[in-house]
Symmetry: C2
Subunit: 155 residues, 2 copies
């Protein structure tokens, strides 16, 4: 990965989901490596353009760094759900070492996000706009589910 | 562990939860070791009497066999819930290598069992009656939750 894929000052960087994504990625940087980095550089590895994708083998085990990005992504969705509905949202991720599994977000007794995970070693998005759109789509769907089964979410 | 803790022909062995527990434990025995064993012998390691508990260190990592017992236990609960309510129940277990984590059972979009797991290397029950009572308690509570939020469970 030579060139950066996220433009400095891209409009999407101001969107609430992308902002939260940066917060979550920075939170996982326990050695302070990102401290001097701009948001673009922190987000950059989340973006897998076609060229980048070609460089990753089709079959492979995800390493710790990729898994931490998946966790950051679902944490960001959980935080966004919390911000919108005011109820606590809890993410839970189950992954085999081969990169297959399941991601859940629960609000009260309600499962508001339930995604099958596969080929996690190739986890990433075409662009920042795509990342934002995908994330917000899950948030919107979660909020719809909460609206529908409010009592279970508040239990 | 020298002597067996489960009496041959104990009444509890006929209870639906204990029966399902045996089915689940046998299902995990991929080499057919249990084929010649009676149900009492298969169930035996699930029982931790005070004497047996004393032999296990207070702090320790659970091995694969103990983890498979925990999975068998929650599988059995899920099957019992399914039998009673006619809806599919899905167990999901998250464990760190240190034996801390969480066990969930979901029916549709509803979380019907949500248990914090800790000290999994000491997982077990005082007696078969206790195992049966604990299991059926979780089943009954799950069915109550489904009754309360039927629409979310059927979604």
């Amino acid at each position: 990965m030579s060139d950066m894929c996220v433009e400095v000052g891209a409009a999407a960087l101001q969107n609430p989901f992308v902002k939260q994504m940066v917060v979550q990625l920075r939170a996982m940087d326990s050695y302070g490596t990102y401290d001097t980095w701009g948001d673009e550089k922190v987000l950059d590895p989340m973006i897998l353009t076609k060229a980048r994708r070609r460089e990753i083998p089709v079959v492979g085990d995800p390493d710790e760094v990729v898994v931490s990005r998946v966790k950051a992504y679902y944490n960001a969705i959980a935080v966004r759900v919390e911000q919108e509905c005011g109820l606590m949202a809890v993410p839970m991720i189950n992954l085999t070492h081969e990169g297959f599994g399941r991601a859940l977000i629960m609000v009260g007794k309600l499962v508001v996000v339930d995604k099958a995970l596969r080929d996690v070693h190739r986890f990433g998005f075409d662009s920042v706009d795509k990342l934002d759109a995908e994330g917000e789509k899950l948030v919107a769907r979660a909020l719809g589910t909460i609206e529908k089964f409010r009592a279970a979410a508040e239990d």
